[in-house]
Amino acid sequence: MTAPVQTTATPPQGRRRRRRYSQLSRGDKITLWLMAGIPTLIHVVFVWVPAFMTIALSFTKWDGLKLGTWKPVGFANYWAVFTVFDGKFFPALFNNIILLVFLSLCSIIGVLFAYLLDKNIRGSAIYQSIFYMPVVLSLAIVGFIWKSVMYSPRQGLFNVVLGRTGQGNQIDWVGNSEKIFTFNIPGLDTSLGLTKNFAAILVAMAWRHIGYVMVLYLAGLKSVDPAMREAAAIDGCNEWQAFRRVIFPVMKPINVVVFVITVIEALRAFDIIFALKSPPGTKVLGVLVRDNLVGEGGGQVGLGSAYGVVLLLLCLGFIIWYLINNYRETET
C-alpha cells in the first residue's frame, strides 16, 4: 500500500507525536469529516429531529394552525387511540399483520419463481420480464391500474370475464367490506377479520411483490458457485435437499434482505390503500397517521402523532430484534 497520499504526509513533529499517530493527512481528515458529517447532519435534521418532535407532539393537543398554541395533555392521545378509536386502530393493526403474513407467502413464491427461472428454462428472459414489469410501477399506480382495469364493477376485466357486469349481479371488488373470517378478542368490542376488499388489494400487491423478490433472489442465485451444485449432485442430493442444505444457506445475505424488505413493506404499506381512497375495512396504520395529520381534516396533530409513535414503536421493536439476532450470529 504505497498510495501517494501516504508518501506526501508530513512526518509527525514533536508536539503532535503525543497525539495518536495518524496516517491521514489534513485533506483526508477534512474529506472524512465532510463525508461523515454531511450525511449525519442530514440524517439528524430530517430523521431524528422530526421523529423526536413527533414524539413530543403526541403528548399535546394542537390544531396545527398557529405555532405555540399546543396544549400538553399527557397520555390523552394514546388513551384515545386505544379506547375511543379502538374500532379504527385494532382493525388497522390487524390489517398490517395480515399484510405481513401474506407478503411473506408472496416472498416464498417469489423465491420459488427465481429458483425455477434460474434453471435456464426456455424463454426465461420473457418470464423474467413479465414478472418484473409491475415492479417498475409505484404501488399507487398499481392501485389505480387494478381499480380501473381489473376491479371496476362495470368495466373491470374480472367482472367482464365472469359475466357479472349487469345491474344487480356486479361484484364490488374494492368496495365490499364484508369479512371473510372474523374472530373476537376478549376485552375488545370490535371483531377483527379479513375484509373482502382488503383481500382484493392484497392480490394487487402480490402482483408487484412477487416480481420484486424474484428479481432480488435471481440475482443472488446467479452468483452461487456452480461447483457447489455439482458437488451436491455428486453427493446424491435431490433437488429439494440441494436447495435446502446447500443453496439456501449460501444465500443468507439475500435471504436477510428479502426478509427485511417484506417486513418493511408490510409495516409501511400506505400508498396503494391511499390511492384507492381507503375503502371501508382496508385501513392500515400508515393511513390513520395520514388522516389525522395531513389534508383539510388534518387538525388533530396530537392524535396523528400518537398513531405515528405507535407505528414507530412497532418498527423499532422489529429492528431491535433483528439487530440483536444479527450481532449474536456474527459474534459466534
Binding site: V84, N176, S177, K277, P279, R290, D291, G295
Partner: protein, 454 residues
C-alpha cells in the same frame, strides 16, 4: 385530494369536463408551452393580470417573465384554488382582471389548496378563495380571516340569505360570495315521458314512483360513494327533510346526539330506501353512477348539478332535468337544501388591507361575476342582480330552485369540522352501507369519537 377521504366538489369546479384523451394531449402541449414561456417564473407567483383588458390599472408583475421586484406593495395578493389551464381558472382570472384593482395571483390546484389550507393560512395572500360554512366561521374565530363588515355596507346586490351564509359567529361578515350550485334529484325527461312518470312531491309519491320504476326493470336511484363524500348528500337531505334545517346545523355543530331518536329515524328511513338504490355504492364512483342515469339503467340520481359534467353528449344534456327532493314530513316541508357557496375571504392580517377591501367590493359587483360567467358559466352567480337572460338552462333552474328555498345548507363536510367528517363520518357512512344492520354500533362510535373533534 384526496386522502382517503375526498372533499365534495366546489361550485367553481362544477362545470369541469372529464379529461378526454384529446384534452390530455392539448393540455400537455399547453403545459409544455407554458413551461417554455415561463421558464424563469416561479410556480407560486405564476403571472397575474393579462395586459390589455383595462390598461392603466395593470401591475407590472405580468406573466411569469418578470421576476424583478414589481411594486408588489401596491398590488393585492390573491390566492385562488384553481390551477392554470382549467376553465374555472380562466373564469376566476377574467373576473379578477375585471375588478380593475392591481393584483398578483397565486393559482393553486383545487385539491392541493384545500388540503394545504392549514399551512397556507400561516402566510396567506391578502385575499383567498374559500367557502361558506363551519370552516369559514372557524377561521374567523381563530383570527385567521379578516372582518369585512365594512365591505358588506357597499354590497347591495346580495340577498339576506347570502349575507347570513357569509357571517361568522360574532355577527360580522367574513366572505364575499361568488357562486353556488344546488343538490337535487336528476332525471331524464324522455324517460319520464316514455314511462308516464311524474315528478314526486311527497314521500308516498316518491315511494310509489320508485316501486313503479323497479317494476319496469329500472334502478330507481343511481348511487355511488367512492371518495366517501357522495352519500353525505343523501344523509343531509333525509336529515333536513325529517328533522329540519336547524337540527342539521345543531347536529353538525356537535350539539345534538348522534345516538338520539332523530338521527336513528334518518337511518331507519335510509335503510328502507336503500333497496331502491344501486347496491354496493362504496366501490362506485359518481361518474359511474351518472353513466347509469345516462344509459337509462337508473331512473333518478340525487347529486349536485355537476352530474351533467360527466357527459359531452348534447342530446343527453338537453334531456337532463332535476327536481327538488320531495317532502318527507308535511310538518317540515321541503324548504331546505344543500347548495355549497364559494367566495373570497380576507387574511387576518393582510399586507394591503385597503387594496384588499377595495378588491372585495369589486368582487361583489356585477362586473366581476359577468366577466367570470362569460368565460365559465357553470355554477350559479351569487349576485342577485345578475342578468337572468345570460343563464344557461341548468343555471336558470338552479337559481330558481335555490331562490325558492328557505334554508340553504352548505353540505355536510362544509357544515362541520373537516377532521370530524374525514376521520369519523365518512368511514361511518361507508360502514353503514357495507352493513346497514350495524347502524346502532356505528352511531354510538360516532357519538364517542365526536368529542375528540367538536
Amino acid at each position: 385530494m384526496s386522502e382517503g377521504y375526498e372533499q365534495s366538489p366546489s361550485p367553481s369546479d362544477v362545470g369541469f369536463q372529464l379529461v378526454t384523451r384529446r384534452g390530455l394531449i392539448v393540455g400537455a402541449a399547453a403545459v409544455a408551452g407554458v413551461g417554455l414561456l415561463a421558464a424563469c417564473g416561479d410556480d407560486k407567483d405564476s403571472g397575474s393580470t393579462t395586459p390589455g383588458t383595462d390598461g392603466g390599472t395593470e401591475t407590472t408583475a405580468a406573466g411569469g417573465t418578470d421576476t424583478t421586484a414589481a411594486p408588489s406593495g401596491d398590488a393585492v395578493t390573491v390566492g385562488v384554488n384553481e390551477a392554470e389551464g382549467t376553465k374555472p381558472y380562466d373564469g376566476a382570472k377574467a373576473g379578477l382582471d375585471a375588478t380593475g384593482v392591481p393584483y398578483k395571483g397565486n393559482f393553486v390546484d383545487h385539491n392541493s389548496f384545500q388540503d394545504n389550507i392549514t399551512s397556507y393560512l400561516q402566510q396567506p395572500d391578502d385575499l383567498f378563495t374559500w367557502f361558506a360554512g363551519y370552516r369559514m366561521r372557524f377561521f374567523a374565530e381563530k383570527g385567521l380571516a379578516g372582518d369585512i363588515s365594512g365591505v358588506w355596507e357597499n354590497l347591495p346586490d346580495f340577498t339576506e340569505g347570502f349575507k347570513t351564509a357569509s357571517t361568522g359567529n360574532d355577527g360580522k361578515q367574513y366572505l364575499v360570495p361568488t357562486s353556488y350550485y344546488p343538490w337535487a334529484v336528476h332525471y331524464r325527461k324522455s324517460l319520464f315521458e316514455e314511462k308516464g312518470y311524474t315528478v314526486p312531491t311527497n314521500k308516498d309519491e316518491l315511494l310509489a314512483l320508485a316501486t313503479k320504476m323497479q317494476a319496469d326493470g329500472l334502478v330507481p336511484f343511481a348511487y355511488a360513494n367512492d371518495g366517501k363524500w357522495p352519500v353525505q348528500g343523501t344523509f343531509d337531505i333525509l336529515n333536513m327533510r325529517l328533522n329540519g334545517y336547524q337540527f342539521h346545523v345543531d347536529l353538525l355543530a356537535g350539539k345534538e346526539d348522534w345516538t338520539g331518536e332523530k338521527v336513528k329515524a334518518v337511518f331507519a328511513l335510509w335503510t328502507t330506501l336503500l333497496p331502491f338504490h344501486q347496491e354496493n355504492p362504496n366501490g362506485r364512483t359518481w361518474q359511474e353512477a351518472a353513466t347509469a342515469l345516462e344509459s337509462k339503467e337508473a331512473g333518478m340520481y340525487y347529486l349536485g348539478t355537476f352530474v351533467s359534467s360527466n357527459s359531452t353528449d348534447q342530446a343527453y344534456l338537453d334531456d337532463l332535468d332535476f327536481f327538488n327532493f320531495p317532502e318527507l314530513d308535511p310538518a317540515i316541508g321541503a324548504t331546505a337544501l344543500d347548495a355549497p357557496i364559494d367566495g373570497f375571504m380576507m387574511a387576518g392580517e393582510p399586507k394591503n388591507a385597503e387594496g384588499a377591501m377595495a378588491m372585495l367590493t369589486a368582487i361583489g359587483s356585477l362586473e366581476f361575476i359577468d366577466a367570470v360567467n362569460a368565460v365559465n358559466p357553470s355554477a350559479v352567480p351569487a349576485n342577485s342582480k345578475f342578468d337572468a337572460s345570460k343563464f344557461t338552462a341548468i343555471q336558470a333552474k338552479s337559481a330558481e330552485l335555490v331562490g325558492s328555498a328557505e334554508f340553504i345548507a352548505q353540505f355536510l363536510d362544509r357544515d362541520t369540522s373537516p377532521d370530524f367528517v374525514s376521520n369519523v363520518i365518512a368511514d361511518a357512512f361507508a360502514n353503514f352501507h357495507a352493513d346497514p344492520t350495524s347502524i346502532d354500533s356505528i352511531l354510538s362510535d360516532i357519538e364517542t369519537q365526536k368529542s375528540q373533534y367538536l
